[in-house]
């Protein structure tokens, strides 16, 4: 029993290290609007689902 709790905490810890970059999906105009408003550049990843 004693080992179960630390293991669960470790798992939770591992999950929380996943960063979530707030990607906008496909909407270039929205990206331009948001970037202009915040005065920051746009990072684009062009990809295909194959």
């Amino acid at each position: 029993m004693k080992r179960v709790l630390p293991l669960a905490l470790m798992l939770l810890g591992a999950l929380s290290t996943r960063a979530e970059l707030p990607f906008i999906e496909n909407d270039y105009q929205r990206a331009v609007r948001e970037a202009s408003a915040k005065n920051v550049p746009i990072f684009v990843e062009a990809w295909a689902p194959w």
């Binding site: 970059l21 707030p22 990607f23 550049p41 746009i42 684009v44 990843e45 062009a46």
Partner: protein, 373 residues
């Protein structure tokens, strides 16, 4: 990259520094984007500058986390350099407009510079001070007040913050906006009390004037008198610490204002006489003495000082000396000579070359003269 790279914790700090766009090249809605930015191979990584619609960085292929971090750092640095260059250009343009006397246009351009400025732009303080000052000179007191209120929190803890708050305070007082006056007075006071801000005596004296004006506006006579006393003590201490006559006379004009405000014009006389002895060619000491003696109702002494000032004064400043002289004659009950003095002032003003001709002042004299008739 979705599975292994973008999920890396070390990229979290970039989240707010870019806008992140994922372009699925198979999706119909991305056709317009692909027409503009053809993508030859996948994946392709781009960093775009939204304002200029240009590519700041391009990389064909996938990237590891360290590679991506390097790319983001590089892209951010060059983006920042371009933005700074643009902002600096706007600031220089605004300075130029302000020095041409086009205050309303200058204010618009200072505003544009502040809007496009990247974070931690080192010239924000100067731009903000200049903006608020140009707005006040342009007579746009509403925007002067509003922008001072908005910009102060961004500048807090700097001399620029103190100047933005006090200029805004003068504008708010002129507009008689109670709530804005209260807020800008608090800001001015906060900067005034902040010992960490390096402030020249001149700057501090200017803040005293704004704070006193605010107390007067609030109808707080006791507070205003106390603050005036503090102001005078501060000026006297600064003057006492001066090591040269040049340094001491720096405080003459503020001290005279303070003594007049406190109803003690006699206290200004010895210092002004001393300055007149130290600087026999300077018209300022006798011109200030004329003012002090007028307040003391010693009109002959006032006129004698005015004579000495007139013998030395030149340029647009002469109108100010003549204006005080007209006031002295009026106070003395000699309306005829007062009028003649105003006529003389108007003629002299009109004889000045364009660029030095104080048109507003001349108009004010003409109005005054018309009212006397």
């Amino acid at each position: 990259m979705k599975a292994y790279v973008y999920t890396d914790k070390s990229l979290e700090r970039y989240a707010g520094r870019f806008v992140w766009l994922s372009v699925n090249t198979e999706a119909a809605e991305t056709a317009a984007f692909l027409k503009k930015y053809p993508i030859p191979a996948l994946p392709t990584l781009l960093v775009l500058d939204p304002k200029r619609d240009t590519v700041a960085l391009r990389y064909v292929g996938g990237a590891t986390v360290p590679q991506l971090r390097k790319m983001l750092d590089d892209a951010e640095r060059s983006h920042r350099a371009r933005m700074e260059a643009q902002t600096d250009r706007l600031l220089a343009e605004a300075d130029q407009l302000a020095s041409e006397g086009k205050q309303a246009d200058a204010a618009k351009t200072y505003d544009a510079a502040i809007r496009t400025a990247p974070g931690r732009w080192t010239r924000l303080g100067r731009a903000a001070e200049s903006l608020v000052y140009s707005l006040s000179l342009a007579g746009d007191r509403e925007r002067c007040t509003a922008r001072a209120l908005e910009l102060y929190p961004r500048l807090k803890g700097t001399m620029a913050a103190a100047n933005v708050a006090s200029t805004g305070l003068w504008c708010a007082i002129a507009l008689k906006q109670d709530a804005d006056v209260a807020k800008l007075e608090t800001y001015t006071r906060e900067a005034f009390d902040n010992k960490k801000i390096e402030m020249s005596n001149d700057d501090r004296s200017g803040l005293y004037m704004a704070l006193i004006e605010a107390r007067d506006f609030e109808g707080d006579d006791e507070g205003a008198i106390a603050l005036r006393g503090e102001w005078v003590a501060f000026l006297e201490e600064a003057a006492a610490k001066a090591t040269t006559p040049e340094q001491r006379t720096v405080y003459d004009s503020h001290r005279l204002s303070a003594y007049l405000d406190l109803g003690m014009p006699e206290k200004a006389v010895p210092m002004l006489e001393q300055s007149e002895r130290d600087f026999p060619d300077d018209y300022n000491p006798p011109s200030r003495l004329a003012y002090a003696y007028k307040a003391l109702e010693q009109y002959d002494k006032a006129l004698a000082a005015s004579d000495r000032a007139l013998a030395k004064v030149y340029g647009p400043r002469k109108l100010a000396v003549l204006s005080v002289r007209a006031d002295i004659y009026m106070a003395k009950g000699d309306a005829k000579t007062a009028k003649e003095t105003l006529v003389q002032a108007i003629e002299y003003g009109k004889s000045l070359p364009e660029g030095q001709r104080p048109d507003k002042r001349i108009a004010a004299f003409e109005k005054r003269l018309a009212e006397m008739k």
